[in-house]
């Protein structure tokens, strides 16, 4: 059983605790820049803390580590590796994985030629591709559920955008002789439960999603080897789908002919069937009542100015933000300064690809002294728009209600 002390000691020494806290209006006394609206207990518990190799992030739990990215880091489209969020279910996490000894076993009953992949083969034995994609925890913004629901009480920071480099899963499956009868791919990583009987965190994806040309086994993140806490030496990248499928420290992929019935597929990560306007469905796992979470729902975040900033009357304020979705591409971002009576289109910025954060900006001129509530809502090219009000679900997934900022003009 690994304690945080052991993990830190194993990683070679000091905790990189910065002396400076990120000063954000409304920050809790403990220094963590928490947004309002979270469960009250979180304001007494969350602190800024630095895992080895990471900047100070918002610690929601030490063991297993669950740390979210402070909002200021989303002012740039690419999230730096040392600020990228960290999430684990289970606390038996290897201190480090020797890249020379790491193996990825690719097999299962629906693979004619199972084999084991080394890191060297992963890096040079297949065509290398890069994709910029948002990795977002299914439960991002769960802390804002109303009513609150149990779980990790994430604010807005359980997400990040990175350039992932690796090989196409379909190329690896081709080498393994994927059979036509395969319906799912079962994914396992090197981390596991403290108690043997606790179900290991094993997921599956539909075989068609695994064969998608964008699904990668990645070894490199933003030009550097994957950080330990983000899945070194290799992880799965499933652009457009939530991060529960982005298996970290991946060590096995099994092609199966029957729906996988492990706990973390059958009894977790499910949304009520038909409640959300998603297009990709995991049919082999779907029941009348519920279905696995799949695509990221269209969403946005205003990154500047901060809430309740003071601005001079009559002078333009640049409102900036990001927008993202499940990979259909951002169609438009609309902004309202009159509580939704009228909307104007924001200017979309550089397109980093349909799976990337899309920057946008909007020029607002406060005409009178007083407060203005700026609402931004994104729509994607599949015709989906952010929800006007929360679509409640017991697990707190898919929160994509617009998050306004207030401007105080004088």
């Amino acid at each position: 059983m690994l304690s945080r002390r052991q993990i830190l000691a194993g990683a070679g020494g000091g905790v990189l605790l910065s002396g400076t806290s990120i000063l954000v209006r409304g920050a809790h006394a403990a220094g963590a820049p928490l947004i309002p609206g979270l469960p009250a207990g979180e304001y007494d518990t969350a602190v800024l803390d630095a895992l080895p190799g990471k900047k100070p992030l918002i610690k929601l739990s030490y063991r297993p580590p669950n740390y979210e990215t402070p909002a200021d880091y989303f002012k740039t489209e690419i999230t730096p590796n040392d600020a990228f969020f960290v999430r684990y279910h289970l606390a038996d996490i290897p201190q480090s994985i020797d890249p020379q000894k790491w193996r990825l076993r690719v097999g299962g009953e629906a693979a004619a030629s199972p084999f084991e992949l080394t890191l060297t083969e992963l890096q040079s034995g297949f065509q290398q591709v890069e994709i910029t994609a948002v990795c977002q925890c299914s439960g991002n913004r769960r802390g804002l559920s109303d009513p609150h629901v149990p779980g990790v009480q994430w604010g807005i920071g359980a997400m990040g955008n990175a350039v992932w480099r690796g090989v196409r899963l379909k190329d690896v499956l081709a080498k393994a002789g994927l059979r036509a009868e395969a319906i799912e791919l079962v994914l396992n990583g090197a981390d596991g439960p403290v108690i043997d009987k606790t179900p290991d965190f094993v997921k599956s994806i539909p075989v068609w999603k695994g064969l998608d040309e964008n699904t990668l086994i990645a070894h490199t993140m933003n030009g550097a080897p994957l950080p330990h806490w983000n899945g070194a030496p290799a992880r799965l990248i499933v652009p457009g789908w939530t991060a529960t499928y982005w298996t970290k420290h991946i060590i096995s992929i099994d092609a199966v002919t029957k729906p996988f019935d492990g706990f973390w597929m059958k009894s977790a990560y499910r949304i009520p069937t038909g409640k959300f306007p998603v297009i990709d469905r995991f049919i082999s796992q779907e029941t009348l009542a519920n279905t696995p979470i799949t695509e990221i729902v269209v969403n946005s975040l205003i990154t500047s100015p901060a809430d309740r900033s003071r601005q001079p009357v009559g002078r333009p304020v640049e409102i900036s933000g990001i927008a993202w979705d499940g990979g259909y591409g951002i169609g438009r971002v609309e902004v309202s300064a009159d509580d939704g009576r009228t909307w104007r289109e924001a200017q979309l910025g550089k397109d980093g690809g349909r799976f990337s954060f899309r920057p946008w900006s909007y020029r607002f001129v406060p005409e009178r002294a007083g407060t203005s509530r700026i609402i931004a809502k994104a729509s994607n090219r599949a015709g989906q728009t952010q929800a006007d009000s929360l679509i409640f679900n017991p697990a707190g997934y898919h929160n994509n209600v617009p998050r306004p900022v207030t401007i105080v003009a004088s």
């Binding site: 207990g41 518990t45 739990s61």
Partner: protein
């Protein structure tokens, strides 16, 4: 010891911290009522095989409801 000093604290701390931080209790507060805390402890025992004796389960739920619930 991050948990509130009240009867049952030791039972909670010794059982729950086997697998995870006690911060999970503190952050999931104070919105959970008896029904939800009972379901969560039940999930630990039934889904995750936490080795908690039935007497201890009752003590744990009482502590959580009184100190971290509503």
């Amino acid at each position: 010891m991050p948990l509130k000093d009240a009867p049952g604290r030791e039972t909670v701390a010794s059982n729950c911290s086997v697998c995870h931080t006690l911060d999970y209790i503190r952050t999931n507060a104070p919105f959970m009522d008896r029904q939800i805390w009972t379901a969560e402890v039940g999930k630990m025992v039934n889904a995750f095989s936490a080795p908690i004796a039935p007497d201890d389960q009752a003590k744990i739920i009482d502590y959580l409801v009184k100190n971290y619930g509503k």
